[in-house]
Symmetry: C2
Subunit: 348 residues, 2 copies
């Protein structure tokens, strides 16, 4: 069975879920053009997910994907948090922020029993997971809804782990990808592979379809991924400039600046390594810093700096998630971009 | 003009020069199969280069490539060297090596006036450079011989720099590549790009042909690189297991071990970041270590450890250069491998 048949979409093309930069509008536009639209749920309340799904269903009968994070919530560590805030004290002073006023950030929620309930109620055609999979009992509930399951792998070991647990296809997240690295069996970043190495290795190792992700931004990239043996692709950063995305103004601008080509993996914004355009905060404190609180607790400390800087049109403290091929693009409607990418599927 | 026409070879396929792992025999076998064989000169005396070139010319009339490094030799730094050897003292003790007995290593030689003389005398069809280009006056002498010039770029900025200086084609070295990273304008490793991002960016930015390198190990990889816009490919690690390579026994074995998939960039062996299979020395001291002497001076300190360990069939202290797609292969004659790779050029 082709990946498109598995997903129920016209094209074997998934719009990558990008929490914080898109909601139903982007998913709807991609669905309308034949791709599989995705709704990132990690930063949404259950009610918000319900509303967004209602919006998608009001606009399209096409299948769509609900995406969830599967991290374990760490125990709060007040000492580590205080030490990190102390390290950021010069920034708070610069912006006139009272460190005592800083609330814990919204963070990102993992997949819980409430999420399983939501999936049972909403019955999306596809559910995708990042950072591994939820606990077996919760996973079984998702499987029982009939949803097709996707999950990200960054190594052969992770892909085999996912296959054993019954996912329907594996997303091969190359090192080029923007946003959070999906690794979950090891946090040794040297194990992360470029897409040129990862896709053929997963294709050889798995009996499941492999979906290539990371650095795919045009039809040639789609075609090259298919040549490497992928059954389909997941594209994220290329959609960030679409009017249907909710990408912030500073993020949009950064993506079009000449230096957008310099991205790095940073843990400064959330506590987990994620690829974003290098900005002042990353240059001065990272991009990787061992003192950062654990994911997702790091969000709180930088939030007020980000908010104040953004209010001045400045992305110095914002996570400017982007892949290594995200810059140089122009704004384009998501449907048009999807159709341009789809050209890569012809003549394989 | 096609890249093959530029190089004078039947195929737009370059066998990557791999100093320390191959000499004329591999180059000859690749030339005979229609690729462009390469002779790495960085670790050879002028006399050895002359002998190797004579061997190539005795075996084939096909064009071949002489490859040189273009680093600047750092001033010796006795204090830094002593500190590094002190850090390695437990290993010397373990192997019963007298630290006072350790000579400076053979290192790697940059391109000098003597190298230019050699090129003028030997007149290879192609000369390729790593770590930038030699000084303008030396470069002009190479150009005056009529040799076609290739050089490695790891970023768009480096590729433009090379194009301005008159190279005939640029080698896009993706982060997947084995051996030394070729970066020369910045040593910020976060600027290094996966091949999926690097090739399209260089193709867009340059008027020159782009040669894709890094993670290409089979015909599908060749085809995918061509789909991304490359004019040809350079393949290295895949040739390491060929009988015509001089790859050491421990290196050959490591390439076939199950854990060969875990490579990392390390500066421990030479002073510059290079990708190799993770071994004991890399796990315990790196893979990157700020105390390592500057390239190529780091070679000396580890040399006796490497020699003794290798004599026991152990690669714990050897540079096991390999790309991210180098493992899982079987020994194959270089001609057969070249013909298998060449299938990737058909039906683009």
């Amino acid at each position: 069975m082709s990946l498109a048949a598995l997903l129920g979409s016209d094209l074997p093309l998934i719009q990558a879920p990008m929490a914080g930069s898109q909601g139903s509008a982007l998913a709807i536009a991609v669905c309308a053009a034949g791709g599989l639209g995705s709704l990132p749920c990690a930063m949404l309340s259950a009610e918000a997910v319900r509303n967004e799904v209602a919006a998608i269903r009001a606009a399209t009968v096409q299948p769509f994907n609900l995406n969830f994070f599967c991290h374990s919530l760490p125990a709060p560590d007040a000492a580590r948090d205080a030490a990190w805030r102390a390290q950021l004290a010069p920034y708070y002073a610069e912006f006139g922020i009272d460190p005592a006023s800083i609330a814990a950030g919204p963070g990102r929620s993992p997949f819980t029993a409430e999420s399983a309930e939501l999936v049972e109620a909403l019955r999306p055609a596809v559910v995708s997971f990042h950072f591994g999979l939820p606990a077996q009992e919760l996973l079984a509930r998702v499987q029982a809804t009939g949803a097709k399951l996707l999950a990200s792998a960054t190594t052969v070991a992770e892909a085999l782990w996912l296959q054993e647990r019954g996912v329907d296809a594996v997303i091969a997240q190359g090192l080029e990808a923007g946003g959070h690295r999906g690794h979950f069996l090891s946090d040794d970043l040297s194990e992360q592979l470029g897409l040129f190495a990862l896709v053929p290795q997963l294709v050889r190792a798995l009996r499941l379809p492999v979906i290539a992700a990371g650095g795919i931004a045009d039809a040639q990239g789609v075609k090259a991924a298919m040549v490497l043996g992928a059954a389909g692709v997941q594209v994220g950063s290329a959609y960030l400039l679409c009017p249907e995305s909710s990408t912030s103004a500073v993020h949009r601008a950064a993506l079009q600046f000449a230096d957008a080509g310099h991205t790095a993996l940073t843990n400064l914004f959330t506590g987990r390594p994620a690829r974003g355009i290098v900005n002042r905060f990353m240059r001065e404190q990272g991009p990787l810093n061992a003192a950062v609180p654990e994911f997702p607790l790091a969000t709180g400390a930088v939030a007020p700096l980000r908010a104040l800087a953004e209010s001045r049109g400045n992305g110095d403290f914002s996570p400017l998630w982007a892949g290594q091929n995200a810059h140089g693009g122009r704004p384009m409607r998501a449907g048009e971009l999807t159709r341009q990418l789809a050209v890569g599927f012809s003549g394989i």
